[in-house]
């Protein structure tokens, strides 16, 4: 049903809005994460919470703060879920099962927001707003903080492994960035038809004499941070396809804008923090290039509608909403999987085979195009270091990035980072398809069945959170497996990033030499894009061939 001209126009509107907002927000983010001054309200809260915001933390201390906060976050959210029946505004819903509470606690603290439950049938309003919404903010601010620490480490000279103050980064990310934008976005959302109340479901007598429950809830306030923080956990089961979570084509494009704006702006901020905007520009260009290609491929796939069901129906409208159609659904799908959001406005399980394959490939890239808030930037910087290392090998010089030498210790950390998620994904899929309990969850058989399982482990290990929803994942097996993947997929890479930040912050800046590979040129953009694709390609092609590729060709 979509036409090509408006499909392109819609992308143009989004790109124009981002082009205006990203430099502003990028400059602001750079200021937020480098300024010496605290706001009065921040200073008061530091005093109240007895944390020292001016201590320049060693990377190990910084890491301990990240892990300490995340640990209590998981424990707190687990307790919240287990005790739900005793809490106010529970809407009569009982406690979550142990495996489910574990999965959800890890899911929201790791910025994954994988959901095994159906929001409207399992969670009360208090769990949603005081449990999940809080972690939507906090997990996003943690990702941004780690990326900021990494950028500052690259900018520093002989800093003895010190990378900044986690508590100040965290509080600033929330108070100065996420919260103000969320308030504005939430109010806009309500104006265009999103619900925002604390009501229980209300029964109405329908036009033809039936009965329908009108659900309520603090939806808009959660929706705003869910997109802005690249979280993606829906208030309702249908996520951003639900008309109360995404009422109009305008709210749809606003949601896509929100989930892309910080990841792109972080790259801009990076350039400013390291004192060379062109470096940020190159990183941003690679992100935009990979995102653009995936948008084009997914839009083509959904509008062309290959496959038996789309052919029979005359269009790929299964699992899509009429107000969005194929094009806006494809734009959302590419953006939500290119960032680590995982919110959906169409059911990904029903995407065409090539469309679903692109969504999966986006996640396998390691969430770098443009990636999650913070995690997208540090993920792409890791690939940039791999790129300078490979190029250094070719010309026989010690590789360096922004004046920091990539020696043996550094490249070991980077290699471990690059390997961590693929190992989790491939081990996860191996366990899932050899275990009886794993196969029991699949709705489809054959290649699409494999795709359902592969999508789930990929989504979890890369902290995306979207799903091929045919998979019944609310079982102890899947809840436990995916919980472990989410936890390791978030914190293993994060600790490696901070360790590398510590190495860089210890080094002195070496002056540029004749053999230094410039990292701001179109050539570097092309090299880095190639490295990203080759690394993923080599790792995942065998399993992709058995799933979406064979399905596309059949």
């Amino acid at each position: 049903m979509s036409d090509v001209a408006p499909a392109l126009g819609q992308i143009a509107v989004l790109v124009a809005a981002l082009a205006v907002a990203v430099p502003f927000l990028g400059r602001y983010l750079a200021h937020v994460y480098t300024s010496e001054k605290h706001l009065a309200v921040e200073r008061a809260s530091y005093r109240l919470l007895r944390v020292d915001p001016d201590a320049d933390q060693h990377w190990k201390t910084y890491t301990m703060s990240v892990l300490g906060l995340s640990l209590v976050g998981i424990l707190g959210l687990y307790a919240f879920g287990r005790l739900q029946e005793h809490l106010p505004l529970s809407l009569g819903f009982g406690a979550l099962p142990a495996d489910g509470a574990w999965n959800t606690a890890v899911s929201f603290v790791t910025n994954t927001n994988w959901q095994w439950y159906s929001g409207e049938a399992a969670l009360g309003h208090l769990m949603q707003m005081s449990g999940l919404t809080v972690q939507n903010f906090v997990s996003a601010a943690v990702g941004m903080a780690v990326a900021a620490a990494f950028a500052r480490a690259l900018a520093r000279n002989l800093a003895g492994g010190r990378v900044g103050n986690f508590w100040a980064d965290l509080v600033r990310g929330v108070v100065r960035v996420l919260l103000p934008i969320s308030v504005v976005a939430a109010v806009l959302f309500v104006a265009f038809g999103m619900v925002q109340n604390l009501l229980e479901p209300q029964a109405v007598h329908t036009l033809t004499g039936g009965s329908q429950a009108i659900t309520g809830g603090p939806v808009a306030s959660q929706e705003a941070i869910k997109e802005l923080g690249t979280n993606g956990g829906g208030f309702y089961n249908a996520n951003a396809a639900h008309p109360f979570e995404n009422p109009t084509p305008f709210t749809d494009v606003l949601e896509i804008f929100l989930l892309l704006v910080i990841p792109f702006a972080m790259a801009w901020a990076f350039g400013i923090i390291v004192g060379d905007r062109r470096q940020g520009g190159a990183i941003l260009a690679v992100m935009a290039l990979l995102w653009g290609v995936s948008v084009a491929l997914l839009t083509w796939a959904e509008m062309a509608g290959p496959g038996l069901a789309p052919s029979a129906a005359g269009g790929a409208m299964e699992g899509k909403e009429v107000r969005f159609g194929e094009a806006a659904s494809a734009l959302f799908a590419a953006s939500t999987t290119g960032t680590s959001t995982g919110s959906v406005n169409a059911m990904h399980d029903s995407l065409t085979a090539p469309g679903g394959g692109v969504a999966m490939f986006n996640m396998m890239l390691g969430e770098v195009a443009p990636g999650g808030v913070g995690s997208g930037l540090y993920g792409m910087l890791m690939l940039a270091i791999v790129t300078v290392f490979l190029c250094g090998l070719m010309v026989g010089r010690t590789p360096e990035y922004l004046g920091k030498k990539i020696g043996q210790r550094e490249i070991v950390l980077v290699a471990l980072y690059v390997l961590a998620t693929p190992v989790l994904v491939l081990t996860g899929i191996a366990i899932a398809i050899t275990a009886h309990d794993g196969l029991a969850g699949l709705q489809e058989s054959g290649p699409h069945g494999l795709s359902e399982a592969l999508y789930a482990v990929t989504s979890a290990a890369n902290n995306n959170g979207s799903a091929f929803g045919g998979l019944t994942s609310g079982t102890p097996f899947w809840n436990t497996l995916l919980g472990v993947l989410m936890l390791l997929g978030r914190f293993l890479p994060m600790v490696l990033v901070l360790a590398l930040a510590g190495r860089f912050a210890t080094q002195r800046h070496s002056p540029r030499g004749a053999g230094t590979l410039p990292t701001h040129t179109p050539l570097f953009v092309a090299l880095l894009s190639g490295v990203a694709l080759v690394v993923v390609g080599l790792t995942y092609v065998p399993v992709l061939a058995l799933g979406p590729i064979v399905e596309s060709l059949s």
């Binding site: 049903m1 408006p6 126009g9 819609q10 109240l48 919470l49 944390v51 301990m64 703060s65 300490g68 906060l69 640990l71 976050g73 159906s118 409207e120 707003m129 005081s130 809080v134 903010f137 906090v138 965290l170 969320s182 308030v183 309500v190 265009f192 619900v195 925002q196 009501l199 109405v204 329908t206 036009l207 329908q212 009108i214 659900t215 603090p218 309702y236 249908a238 396809a241 639900h242 008309p243 109360f244 038996l308 069901a309 789309p310 029979a312 005359g314 269009g315 409208m317 299964e318 699992g319 909403e321 009429v322 107000r323 806006a328 169409a346 029903s350 065409t352 085979a353 489809e444 059949s554």
Partner: protein, 204 residues
């Protein structure tokens, strides 16, 4: 051991931070937004409810549904919604799609069967049935149908309600929302509001 003690110490700071964040982000923020929403946009914030005469209301007892949510249309004289996988159909307590894959044999069979049903109901060729008429939406609560599906149903609705086709087509036009700014989304027809208008015109 030293590391575990350090982690414990940082966890205590983390706990204080988490409590503060919960008060700010988990209580103050959602309640503030609720307050603003209830004052500035009470109709939308409470579910965009409409009455049998198409008036906006915030009272569920007066309402026949939400302008944002599709509902089961149990009357052959009215415009029909899309197929729905939400519970027994359009159940907001079970929002979801079928999640059937693009080559799923059951999905293909159901599409072919629905095409035949719709074609028979509207007295047209199965090839003329638009895709949204035979596919389930993502939410199972899609409030809209395509303009093509509305046009397809207009003759039947006109006849069943003693209206002319032109009258019904005018109503369809009135309840069609075009692409925002000419580019965003797809043109769509709100079924509940359209059916309310049909009943009002037929009753007057």
């Amino acid at each position: 051991m030293k590391d575990i003690y350090t982690l414990f110490r940082h966890s205590l700071a983390g706990l204080r931070m988490l409590v503060a964040m919960t008060v700010l982000l988990g209580v103050a923020y959602p309640l503030a937004v609720t307050g603003i929403a209830q004052v500035a946009f009470p109709w939308q914030a409470n579910g965009s409810l409409v009455t049998a005469t198409g008036e906006h209301t915030e009272d569920a007892d007066e309402a026949v549904g939400s302008a944002r949510l599709g509902q089961v249309v149990d009357d052959d004289a009215l415009f029909q919604n899309r197929p729905s996988a939400a519970g027994d159909g359009y159940d907001p307590l079970n929002s979801y799609g079928t999640n059937l894959g693009p080559n799923d044999p059951d999905l293909v069979a159901s599409i072919i069967e629905l095409e035949a049903q719709v074609a028979e109901r509207e007295g047209v060729d199965p090839a003329d049935v638009p895709p949204d008429a035979v596919t389930s939406s993502a939410s199972g609560l899609d409030p809209d149908i395509s303009v093509a599906y509305a046009d397809l149903q207009a003759p039947r609705v006109a006849e069943a309600n003693g209206l002319t086709e032109d009258q019904v087509r005018d109503l369809v036009d009135e309840h069609t929302t075009g692409r925002t700014w000419g580019v965003l989304g797809e043109p769509h027809v709100n079924v509940l509001e359209l059916n309310i208008a049909v009943r009002q015109l037929a009753g007057s």
